[in-house]
Amino acid sequence: MAGPSYHMRINKAADRFSLIEIIKRLPKLKNNLDEYTYYGFGGPFLEDMRLIYEFYPEIRMISFEEIRKVFLRQKFHIPCGPEQLTLENCNVTNFIDNLESTDEKSIFWLDYTDLDLICFTDFEKLLNKLSQGSVIKITIRADPRDYWIIPKNIENRRQKSRMIENFRRIFGEYLPRPSAVPSWKSEDFAYLLQEMMQIVVQNSLSADITNLTFYPISSFYYSDSTWMFSITGIIWPRTDFEAVEDAFKDWEFKNLVWNRPIHIDIPNLSTKERLHLQKHLPRERPRGPVLRAEMGHLIDEDIIRTEYALEQYAAFHRYFPYFLRGIP
């Protein structure tokens, strides 16, 4: 994927941090964190493993990485001892296929870079294997440009209809309105993917066969050069929604009832600007106009965009990483 390197994507960093926030609230559902194992892709720098180890050292971790050279690089970046983190050089689909159903609790982050049918089938299989209290986060590419072009001439129009047909052929089983032409706006496309995930859940944990369901906890879409969609939820008894609601009621970014995903669009701010704004946070919405007044200058094209950007900053400022130049 093009764009900034993996660990420096600020919107993704916020999405990653949201998982930390979710884990923080799991004990409210009478889950002990030391019962959990975290499974993730990690990437070359094992960023999420580093973060989880920093916040929740009691959680055991397993990383799966298919590409050998990335796996070797991971070995170099391992943030803790091997008793805490196991690195596996394997393909995630094979890993899920070979995973035995267990009563142990898991936190899975299926952090894909593309949008393929396999993202949905992996998720479907995993839902069937994990136990009550397990958390699954799935991140997929959500770029409508992969399946849509602006038709300028007949050939374009043909190409467009071929692309739509191709999209239907690949994902037809999971489309909520299989016969309709999807909207290709980023926010609508992200919502469509969320609806497709909801269908996966209803396939895998169908109300007529089990009382377990997958309650969403948060869902986001963002772009660090490529649009991504990310949803996190918990496997929990269908009849005990109140407990989930209660555990996450105080969290600003909760999405417990499959509402439209939240946009993460954190502005680029200097450290000096951030430290200045931080003095005025947290505060009640709307925060954009107040922060713009405190800032005294625009950070985007106009007042409206600036206030939107500052509102985004206010929302996610705690999840916003600092990138500083250091002496190695």
Binding site: R169, I170, G172, Y174, L175, P176, S179, Q202
Partner: protein
């Protein structure tokens, strides 16, 4: 020897139990199919009130379905249930005395509406208006539990709007309620998928169907048809048409709906499923209703009588057979109307033609294997046409007439392109290399996104230039 006790009764009760209809009959049908039965009744209503043909016989007619936690509702403006049919419409099964009241109706067995109602819930009201009569019939839980009462209460109502019917089912069974609530996304999507394919032709002919306010868009099979120089080679479907001695009109077309897949595509599909749905296979239509959609089994002739079994290399082949009759009893359907009666003589006769046509395209696929780029070019010369346009085009084709075959009729056998090189002089080379290495060589050729088979071919050509 023991003494026997004489029987006093002269007759024994063999009357059916209501609970049998309510609990057993409903097990034979899926929920989606029972909803489609109700849509069939809408279409029959249209045919009863406006039985004219033409391109858009269903235009202006609508059916709306609402699915909620404890409600199923279907409303239509399709003419309502005529009062003179009430003694048939609400009885279980078809009265043998009943004459067909309009040609081409699909409702034949007299169980669809009742079965759908019993499948879903314990309470139902059926309100209808047809010309001078507007009335409501109610089915209640008490009526369902009473084994001896078969009469249903009926009353006059005030109906506003066009003639039509509203069926409202409440007090849903919990398994049905779950489908409409907890599984609603999945269920609604599946229902839409089935309606968009099974009602595709009826919707194309003007009928409007909405599910929870969303209009269903038809999904029809379209086959590649090269309209240039019809007497020469080109990608066109095999076509067969006839009117049987029973007056059943048959139209069959089979061909390509897309280019055959490359070897790479087939291999990728082998490793992991890339597509969740395919348009390949046979679709069977009876009086505008699709009874089988994209079948790729022996039911439609795959893997029989010299036709290979379906395999991913044949995903480009698709076919449609349309049966049409004024007497639905002559059509090869089952009581569910979405099931094909595969042992019906008319179907067995037509199946011969299906296999004959299919074989032309499996042969073409095999002959052009490894030269998919060329076949892609041939297919791109044509355009994908729906069946009604293929029917029109067939008028211009030179059809062969047969009268002494199993099923007499007219047929068009396309003259598909043949590879220039005799196959025996060419041999396939295939080998496996690591992905990362393939990409590196592809980059060497100037395009790292090159297909692995292209990379291999370029490597061969390069070495061949040096070697020759």
């Amino acid at each position: 020897m023991k003494e026997t006790t004489p029987i006093d009764e002269k007759q024994i009760n063999a009357a059916p139990l209501k609970s049998f209809f309510v609990s057993m009959l409903t097990r034979d049908i899926d929920l989606e199919d029972s909803i489609l039965d109700l849509l069939d009744n809408c279409v029959d209503g249209i045919l009863r009130s406006r039985p004219d043909e033409g391109n858009q016989p269903y235009y202006g007619y609508k059916a709306e379905i609402r699915l909620e936690k404890d409600l199923f509702l279907i409303s239509d403006n399709c003419g309502g249930i005529p009062w003179n049919l009430h003694k048939y419409a609400f009885r279980m099964g078809r009265d043998p005395e009943r004459q067909s009241d309009a040609p081409g109706l699909v409702g034949y067995y007299g169980i669809g509406m009742k079965r759908a109602i019993f499948k879903m819930g314990r309470n139902c009201s059926i309100s209808t208006k047809n010309i001078n009569h507007q009335y409501q019939v109610e089915i209640t839980q008490d009526w369902l539990q009473d084994e001896y009462t078969w009469d249903l209460p009926v009353k006059n109502i005030n109906w506003k709007g066009k003639d039509g019917t509203i069926i409202k089912i409440t007090n849903l069974y919990s398994n049905i309620s779950k489908q409409f609530e907890e599984n609603s996304k999945k269920f609604t999507a599946n229902l839409e998928r089935i309606i968009s394919t099974h009602y595709a032709i009826i919707i194309e002919k003007g009928f409007e169907i909405k599910i929870n306010n969303q209009i269903v868009v038809p999904r029809t099979t379209k086959l590649v048809f090269d309209s240039h120089q019809l007497e020469q080679t080109g990608i066109r479907p095999f076509i067969f048409k006839t009117i049987t001695s029973d007056n059943v009109d048959v139209f069959l077309a089979v061909g390509f709906w897309r280019p055959p897949p490359s070897e790479n595509e087939i291999n990728e599909e082998k490793e992991s499923t890339k597509y969740s749905s395919m348009d390949a296979g046979w679709t069977i239509v009876c009086n505008d209703r699709v009874v089988v959609f994209c079948d790729r089994s022996e039911l439609t002739g795959w893997g029989e009588a010299g036709v290979p079994r379906f395999h991913n290399q044949f995903i480009a082949i698709s076919g449609v057979v349309e049966f049409r009759s004024k007497d639905p009893g002559k059509l090869p359907t089952k009581t569910t109307k979405r099931g094909l009666d595969s042992s019906a003589p008319i179907y067995l006769q037509v199946k011969n033609k299906m296999r004959e046509g299919m074989k032309i395209f499996t042969d073409y696929t095999n002959k052009w294997k490894g030269r998919e780029d060329e076949s892609k070019k041939q297919i791109s010369k044509g355009e994908n046409l729906p069946l009604r346009e293929i029917r029109q085009k067939s008028e211009k084709l030179s059809m062969n007439t047969t009268s002494r075959t199993v099923i007499p009729g007219e047929q068009y056998r396309p003259n598909l392109p043949k590879p220039e090189l005799p196959e025996s002089t060419a041999r396939r080379i295939s080998f496996v290399k690591e992905n990362i290495k393939i990409k590196k060589v592809a980059a060497y050729f100037g395009d790292s996104s090159l297909d692995p088979s292209d990379v291999g071919e370029k490597c061969f050509d390069l070495v061949y230039q040096e070697a020759k």
